[in-house]
């Protein structure tokens, strides 16, 4: 008989092992899924995990990993601060969109002026936009005790409609023959978030993501505020005795995650995406939640998880076009990753004991 026994302390070893185990289980279950679809499972898994890094065209895919991973890491870092303190910002997608609208709005309002300070101003506007959008659930929670999960999630849909309205209205390209979508910022030198080194995929968003990782690490390990965040998540009562003011913490966590999501949106709209369009929001804000948990809410873990997630995206696309795998199979594969992570998480907090039947009864 198998019995689960709660560990007195979460296991350190399993904290590190579970993500690896989850990836392995995903490979096995995913392989089985691909085999059922009539594809060679080994080739499919190799295409997803190996080809983006080491195939013939890796010179193109490797930089793309940075492009795809950076917004995920940037958003996930912000989310992880709140998640650690038990503050659940589910609406990063909305903050990402509003940040992009605000940042791009600054550039489009000043078009075609060229100035060195334009891009920094856009970054600030993007961060402010995301932060203000996140302040709505934060203030509602602090003032009226509303549930930030619901409010932040609902605001995603508001943001999506705002985006559609901007794309066909206020920010529409006046030279676009009436078609939706803003001017393309890639063709506006002062506003373009170009690659810092051509062909490297390294744009300001990647730099910002790396800086965010370092800051989060220092904050959580070396700073009083980081201690308060961890304490609130682990022992809310003790936190109150230690002088943590919950309201301030809520505003800080939601505000920071909103600002980072907004910046991610700005870097995306001014770089890889180029324009405000109806379908600009492509789910980074939601995927980042998976990345945050896959990375164990730890800054370095998130960095690795962001890379892994980007890998499954790029590899998944290659598998689609080379092997003819349907895109829903790839999405299922990514979903499995979170599923297995949550499932094997039980090993962190519980110990498996083999006992004889009599004892159980």
């Amino acid at each position: 008989m198998i019995r689960l026994e709660k560990r007195p302390q979460p296991s350190q070893l399993w904290t590190y092992l579970t993500p690896v185990l989850a990836v392995l289980l995903t490979m096995i279950a995913g392989g089985a899924l691909f085999a059922f679809l009539g594809k060679d499972p080994f080739e499919a898994i190799r295409t997803i995990f190996w080809d983006p890094l080491f195939s013939e065209f890796a010179f193109y895919y490797r930089p793309q990993l940075l492009v795809k991973g950076a917004p995920l890491v940037l958003i996930a870092i912000g989310l992880s601060l709140g998640f650690r303190a038990g503050i659940w910002n589910i609406g990063a997608e909305g903050q990402y969109i509003v940040g992009a609208i605000c940042g791009a709005g600054v550039a489009l309002a000043l078009y075609p002026m060229e100035a060195f300070w334009l891009f920094p101003a856009m970054v600030i506007a993007g961060a402010l936009g995301g932060m203000l959008w996140a302040m709505i659930p934060a203030l509602l929670k602090v003032k009226f005790g509303t549930n930030e999960i619901l409010v932040s999630l609902m605001l995603v849909y508001v943001a999506e409609n705002l985006l559609a309205s901007m794309a066909v209205g206020l920010l529409k390209n006046p030279e676009g023959f009436g078609f939706p979508g803003s001017r393309n910022l890639q063709q506006y030198p002062s506003a373009h978030n170009a690659e810092l080194i051509t062909g490297s995929g390294m744009h300001w968003g990647v730099v910002a993501a790396l800086i965010a990782v370092i800051f989060a690490y220092v904050l959580l390990n070396r700073h009083m505020l980081g201690f308060h965040i961890r304490l609130t998540g682990e022992a809310p009562r003790a936190a109150r005795f230690a002088g943590v003011r919950p309201a301030r913490l809520i505003l800080f966590c939601l505000g920071t995650s909103g600002a980072l999501a907004g910046m991610a949106g700005l870097f995306e709209v001014s770089g890889p995406s180029g324009q405000i369009g109806i379908d600009f929001g492509s789910g980074y804000g939601f995927t980042a939640i998976i990345v945050a948990f896959l990375g164990r809410l730890h800054p370095v873990g998130i960095l690795l998880a962001g890379g892994l997630m980007a890998l499954t995206y790029i590899g998944g696309e290659i598998a689609q076009s080379n092997l003819g795998l349907p895109s829903s199979a790839i999405q299922l594969f990514q979903g499995m990753l979170l599923f297995f992570l949550l499932a094997v998480d039980v090993l962190t907090n519980f110990r498996i004991r083999l006992t004889n039947k009599a004892e159980v009864a």
């Binding site: 065209f57 193109y60 793309q64 492009v67 795809k68 409609n161 559609a164 309205s165 066909v168 209205g169 206020l170 023959f177 009436g178 078609f179 939706p180 979508g181 393309n184 890639q186 995306e268 770089g271 890889p272 995406s273 180029g274 324009q275 369009g277 109806i278 379908d279 600009f280 492509s282 789910g283 790029i314 696309e317 290659i318 689609q320 076009s321 080379n322 003819g324 349907p326 895109s327 829903s328």
Partner: protein
């Protein structure tokens, strides 16, 4: 060890063989915004791609990618296809326009065809269909069939393509039924069965007994069927499974001949950048069979209109027409030119409500 070596050799031999065959084949890529079984827009591109591949047999290999988000992801997917040796790539959604142009700059030897856009380059063609011709026929049928004089219209995005369709349908409904009114719901999606069903239900509640749709799923048909006496039209696909009631006709996208022609051009080396905008006459727009619930005289009227459009005797946008605010647009007998139609962003006189901005 020995077995591994044997396998490796076999694999290498196989790999070389495939590479040799692949060199002779023309590789054609297709990128879809939705799933290839969406029942509408993307599915029709997919089926046309398969038909094209069948036409050429061994000479052509197709690669496809579905559910590609518009924006940065599209650019990567297109690049990936070009890197892997595609000779010709069809990007089948409006939002793929800038990504297509960007990638085309980096791969001057690969040919690109972008559906429904307006940006061309030496290696980028654009193609679209004059769906408004089909809308004229739908409008005529709608105007004749409605008893409540309320026609519902499920619109997707406020872009010229959609606004053209609304105007064309309205002009021709009004022509046969001066009391007709249009109620327009903006769904802000091309494909979302739940949203489309909701839109259809709202329109039916508001008294609409004919529903036109510019979205791709069959959900509005199901809603109309449930409601009873409501007529609908297939969009992009024939959607004949909902005939003879509620679906009484349809606009069908017919891409295969174009795909065959353009792929042939790449094989022959005669491909050149073009801007194609074909209608019923060229066969790019198909009119699904008008079902028997439509009275014979109404059916004859619709067929006559179709014949007039095909022969060139009649253009759906012929004056006198005023803009919604009453200012004149086309004088009597004047025909709208393609430039004006391509960027159409206003309603004609008589349509109520504003285009969302």
């Amino acid at each position: 060890m020995k077995l591994t070596k044997l396998l490796t050799t076999a694999a290498m031999a196989l790999g070389l063989a495939t590479a040799a065959v692949a060199a002779d084949k023309t590789k054609v890529g297709f990128i879809y915004v939705g799933p290839r079984n969406d029942g509408g827009w993307s599915q029709h591109h997919h089926e046309a791609a398969v038909e094209m591949a069948k036409h050429f047999g061994d000479k052509v290999e197709i690669v496809e990618q579905e559910n590609v988000p518009e924006g940065a992801d599209a650019e990567r997917v297109i690049t990936q296809m070009a890197l892997q040796g595609a000779d010709l790539i069809f990007t089948t959604s409006f939002g793929f326009m800038d990504p297509t142009v960007n990638v085309a700059k980096k791969f001057p030897n690969v040919k690109f065809e972008h559906a429904t856009g307006y940006k061309t380059a030496p290696n980028v063609s654009v193609y679209s269909a004059r769906f408004y011709e089909g809308r004229a026929i739908q409008g005529t049928l709608a105007g004749r069939m409605t008893k409540s004089n309320v026609v519902g219209y499920i619109a997707s995005y406020p872009i010229p393509e959609v606004i053209r369709g609304i105007n064309s349908a309205y002009i021709h409904a009004k022509k046969v039924n001066p009391n007709v009114k249009f109620k327009i719901v903006w769904a802000f999606t091309w494909f979302d069965p739940a949203k489309e069903a909701d839109a259809a239900k709202v329109l039916i509640e508001q008294g609409a007994d004919v529903i036109l749709q510019h979205t791709d799923s069959t959900a509005p048909h199901a809603a109309a069927q449930a409601a009873g006496n409501v007529y609908t039209f297939g969009q992009a696909a024939d959607m004949a499974e909902y005939g003879p009631m509620p679906r009484i006709s349809s606009i069908i996208d017919v891409w295969a001949p174009y795909y065959i022609q353009r792929t042939q051009a790449v094989i022959d080396g005669s491909w050149a950048s073009v801007n194609t905008w074909d209608g019923i006459k060229a066969g790019m727009v198909g009119i699904g069979e008008i079902s028997d619930v439509v009275p014979a005289d109404v059916k004859a009227e619709a067929v006559a209109l179709q014949d007039a459009i095909v022969s060139g005797a009649y253009h759906p946008f012929t004056g006198p027409l005023n803009k919604q605010d009453g200012t004149p647009w086309l004088a009597a007998g004047e025909v709208a030119d393609d430039g004006a139609l391509a960027g159409l962003n206003f309603y004609v006189e008589g349509i109520e409500g504003a285009i969302p901005q």
